[in-house]
């Protein structure tokens, strides 16, 4: 079943065409890689998908409904969550609080009910806290709960962002270079995490430059170059694709 369908997506900035007539789909439960040289337009695609940018033309369909004119919070509510390439944590908040904010979409309690000390509210808050704790543990940050987000080292900040995005229990998870700043060992942990998510049926669109990660987890890969899609296929196909090799992978020396 197709969860996400992107059709003729285009985005211009002045003279620069950052995304140029790109079409692809992501099926439910699939992990799709989005790769391409620096400046190919990958992050721009994610910004379009999450409503931070409006397409110049083209459409985005999610679960059969159009996303491309919704505001970001509605898109999030529809089930899309993301991480950021240049880490955007809530800098002043603790690691745990960052993830608790992520549960916003999963909670309902009104402030009025909280003013009245409604037991349902307390229960829900406890649950949110538990969910957040569990997620922190899952990304190996169990011990870091109370640490202020900015005091974490780079790699841990990345994992915290993933935990925050997962807290919304999104149908589609968009990861923008999650492995950047991780050493190979940590990358292995990340790969294991992504695989376990897939095993739970999580759909992921993954931007990544590290081929070990991309090839290790993706079912399918879409390749962009100068905003255009130049290839699409399984990891094996992509790694053999001539255009991809010249534009992106280069020859291993």
């Amino acid at each position: 079943m197709t969860l996400l369908r992107v059709e003729g997506l285009t985005r211009r900035f002045g003279g620069v065409v950052a995304v140029d007539d790109v079409s692809f789909t992501v099926g439910a439960g699939e992990i799709v890689g989005l790769i391409g040289p620096n400046g190919a337009g990958k992050t721009t695609v994610i910004n379009l998908l999450t409503g931070l940018l409006r397409p110049s033309s083209g459409q985005i369909e999610f679960n059969g409904a159009r996303l491309d004119s919704l505001t970001p919070h509605r898109i999030a509510r529809a089930g899309v969550a993301r991480t950021y390439q240049n880490i955007r944590l809530f800098r002043g908040l603790s690691a745990l609080d960052n993830v608790i904010v992520g549960t916003h979409l999963r909670t309902r309690a009104s402030f009025a009910a909280r003013l009245a000390f409604a037991p349902a509210v307390r229960r829900e808050e406890a649950e949110a806290r538990e969910t957040a704790r569990a997620l922190l543990a899952r990304v190996n940050l169990g011990q870091r709960e109370a640490a202020r987000a900015t005091s974490l080292p780079y790699g841990e900040q990345r994992r915290l962002e993933i935990a925050r995005a997962l807290a919304a229990q999104p149908e589609l998870l968009l990861l923008d270079e999650p492995a950047a700043g991780m050493n190979p060992a940590e990358m292995d942990v990340l790969i294991a995490l992504i695989r376990s998510l897939r095993d739970e049926g999580q759909t992921i669109l993954l931007i990544e430059h590290n081929m070990q990660v991309v090839m290790g987890v993706c079912d399918r890969i879409v390749v962009l170059n100068f905003g255009r899609k130049i290839a699409e296929g399984t990891p094996a196909e992509i790694s053999r694709d001539k255009d991809v090799i010249t534009a992106y992978l280069g020859e291993e020396e």
């Binding site: 992050t43 910004n47 940018l53 002043g92």
Partner: protein, 309 residues
């Protein structure tokens, strides 16, 4: 319906706008560099004006004549007073802003500490210059006026307009095209990066405060001369409008401050000229400001956000 003397009213607007701009350029410089509203700028404006007055008259109202009965010509007094104002600016930075630089709430705490320094400055001014209205003695500059069409503008007012233009052009050139200017902008944007580039960030802060305050002092002098009014609270009356002007112009944008100044000045004057009542002048000006901001959330010449993510 009385005749509207358009040329005179336009000149009035030009003067009012220049006065706002003159006050605002120094203000916006610090705003652009530190991203902090320096609410003591108005106090420096006042002290600059008084300093020049003291040098011209050779007398400190609350203490008595200067030693040696020194009396300087206006131009020299202005230069010296700008120097003093600039040094006060450095003092202000050391007192109110530097200690807070590393704090995450530096924007707000800086605003409040600058209010505190403004209070201190004002108290000292009241002591030194007495709680009274003063003015530059007659003949401080040549009396007379420039006439344009049906309008006339005294030399002291022309001085404000010219000073605003000259200082703004100089400051813009400095910021845009010189290495120092680029360093100031770099510090404004990212002090850590600026350090790593070899920029002496603290020196840039000091220099910016010196420059901003010297300009603020000059604004006080020229404006005080033009409207014949100096007193320890004179800065308060320009503060809000000055603030409006720099926001309207766009954060840290010097040309924006000028544009904002002219816009506000002309709006005020025209609202009086056209409606023949001044009762709603400020309301008209602020409604216009509000509308402009709603349409251009980062001010007239303010930069917009580059990318959200």
């Amino acid at each position: 319906m009385p005749d509207i003397n358009w040329s005179q009213q336009l000149l009035n607007g030009l003067f009012a706008g220049s006065a706002y701009a003159l006050f605002a350029v120094g203000y916006t410089l610090i705003f652009g560099v530190l991203d902090i509203l320096n609410l003591a700028h108005q106090a420096i404006y006042m002290l600059g004006a008084f300093c020049a007055l003291v040098l011209v008259t050779g007398n400190v109202a609350g203490l008595g004549p200067l030693p040696g009965g020194m009396q300087l010509p206006f131009w020299l007094a202005t230069l010296l007073a700008m120097l003093v104002a600039g040094l006060l600016g450095i003092l202000l930075d050391r007192l109110a802003f530097a200690p807070l630089r590393k704090r995450p709430d530096t924007h707000f705490s800086g605003m409040i500490s600058s209010i505190a320094v403004a209070l201190i400055f004002e108290a000292l001014a009241t002591w030194l210059f007495l709680p009274q209205r003063s003015q530059f003695p007659a003949g401080t500059i040549r009396p007379g006026a420039v006439t344009l069409g049906q309008g006339a503008l005294s030399y002291s007012r022309v001085l404000v307009i010219v000073a605003a233009l000259v200082l703004v052009v100089l400051l813009t050139v400095l910021l845009r095209f010189t290495k120092l200017g680029k360093a100031i902008r770099a510090v404004a944007e990212n002090p850590k990066a600026a350090r790593l580039l070899g920029i002496n960030v603290e020196a840039i802060y000091s220099f910016s405060f010196f420059l901003s305050s010297a300009l603020g002092g000059a604004a006080g002098i020229f404006y005080g001369l033009a409207v014949s009014r100096l007193d320890p609270t004179m800065g308060r009356s320009v503060e809000l409008k000055g603030l409006a002007v720099i926001i309207l112009g766009g954060m840290g944008s010097v040309p924006g401050a000028v544009l904002g100044g002219y816009l506000l000045g002309l709006t005020e004057v025209l609202s009086v000229a056209l409606t023949n009542t001044s009762n709603y002048r400020d309301a008209i000006a602020f409604v216009l400001l509000f509308l402009i901001l709603v349409l251009r959330p980062s001010g007239l010449l303010g930069a917009r956000r580059v990318r959200e993510a």
